[in-house]
Symmetry: C2
Subunit: 233 residues, 2 copies
DNA sequence: GACGTTTTAGACAATAGTGTCTAATTTTAC
DNA sequence: GTAAAATTAGACACTATTGTCTAAAACGTC
């Protein structure tokens, strides 16, 4: 812990100059350390070392440890929200090639939201510090996961008018879509492992296939079944 | 943190005498504190106070903090595994009234595995300490969630021969069943909240309905759809 | 190149936690 | 009732951490 090589963040791509670069460097390093050690396990010295910055600089920018923590959470939440809504923008707008389009969407969701650094950070920290800092994560809960359901429900509603989808409760369908998407990789994510692109692709496809089987209007089922016979896997 | 009332565990139902009672008391209190504070945030003094036991007694039973932590994890894992397999034993064995039977099974799973103290503990601690103590949770991963998929897959396979279920990949179906069951309550569990019985019941029913829609053989779909018209909700 | 700002390393006090030790007290077993 | 075992409170050394302070160095701007 003491003899850590402090070059990591110097080498990485923070080429901005001045205070701003320091802030970014501190926030990045702090996110790593908080994620790895939790709030109480993380030490300012370790963060300073990982950010290649003196301890005093951290205290110059952020009055105390808790202030830094809140800034980090805010930073990660903002990034995660941006990523989420940028992925939502890729939701298929017409019913052509529905399975493939939905699969691509689901895979994007996993890559850019569930399986990246920010997703891991939020899963961990919300779960462990969410009760201690309710106000802190409540905003995220409403803006992030709280709104993804509604947004996805609206998209499904739009889609269901074009495709032959049989959905009563769009909110429920949205939650179930997301649950199915994470079904295969839940255990890996729980253990902090990062799934490969291939794993994400197959997980996405399986999820979409099941979702469509559950929510495709009955009259289309025979066609879908026939298609499955012709193109298995 | 200092002036906590130490009566909690004296009043609760540990009527056994002697060393054993102390061990139980310590393990229970330690589980609470580790769950609430994480490994590094938990202090031995706090655990001792919550267990109504002196610090020295804890060191008599468990050599050091890490030893105690491992014992707690083992204890919770054992209980959680027992609960899990006792719920698995309630899986419906015939196809009569499938939706209701599966719903009861799913609700049992949530009540006794996902939504109780042990479930919360394991979700939190595996996620935060799983990378630091891989050997510790690996056993659980294989015996617990690792085997639930296989066990549930076998049960689904048995069931599919009696009911008209159309499942190629039983492992996948098992994972998806579990994912759907947790879909509605995921967010509450993430924030450490405890769903009510009613929430669990409706979540279970919705999950089962979707699961059955996805995996019921096409020839039965029309019948199911008609039934749905007659008995909505 | 000079000035004001930012950063740095290090010392520092204050606090909190771990794990040990001891001597007194309580509990248990016989 | 007595002896052995377990438990207790408290003191203790040791370490780690937070947050402050200082004087020197580096930096950016003009």
């Amino acid at each position: 812990m003491k003899d850590r090589i402090p070059s990591a963040r110097k080498a990485s791509g923070h080429t901005q100059r001045g205070q701003f670069a320091k802030r970014v460097s501190i926030l990045d390093a702090a996110a790593d350390v908080f994620c790895r050690e939790g709030f109480s396990g993380a030490s300012i010295d370790e963060i300073a070392m990982e950010a290649c910055v003196s301890r005093q600089t951290i205290y110059n920018h952020y009055r105390e440890k808790e202030t830094l923590f809140m800034a980090v959470v805010q930073d990660v939440m903002d990034r995660a929200n941006a990523a989420l809504f940028s992925v939502l923008a890729t939701f298929p707008s017409n019913a052509d090639d529905l399975e493939n389009e939905l699969t691509a969407f689901a895979a994007g969701l996993m890559c850019n939201c569930s399986c990246n650094h920010d997703g891991k950070f939020l899963r961990r920290l919300v779960q462990t510090e969410g009760e201690r800092y309710p106000h802190l994560f409540e905003a995220w809960r409403k803006q992030g996961p709280g709104r993804i359901d509604a947004a996805l429900a609206a998209l499904l509603s739009r889609l269901s008018r074009q495709a032959n989808l049989d959905i009563d409760d769009f909110d429920l369908a949205a939650r179930q879509f997301l649950a199915l998407v994470n079904a295969d990789l839940q255990m890996m994510l729980l253990f902090g492992e990062t799934p490969s692109d291939e794993q994400i692709q197959t997980a996405a496809r399986k999820a979409v296939q099941t979702f469509l089987r559950a929510y495709t209007r009955s009259s289309d089922k025979t066609a879908a079944a026939n298609e499955k016979q012709l193109l298995p896997g």
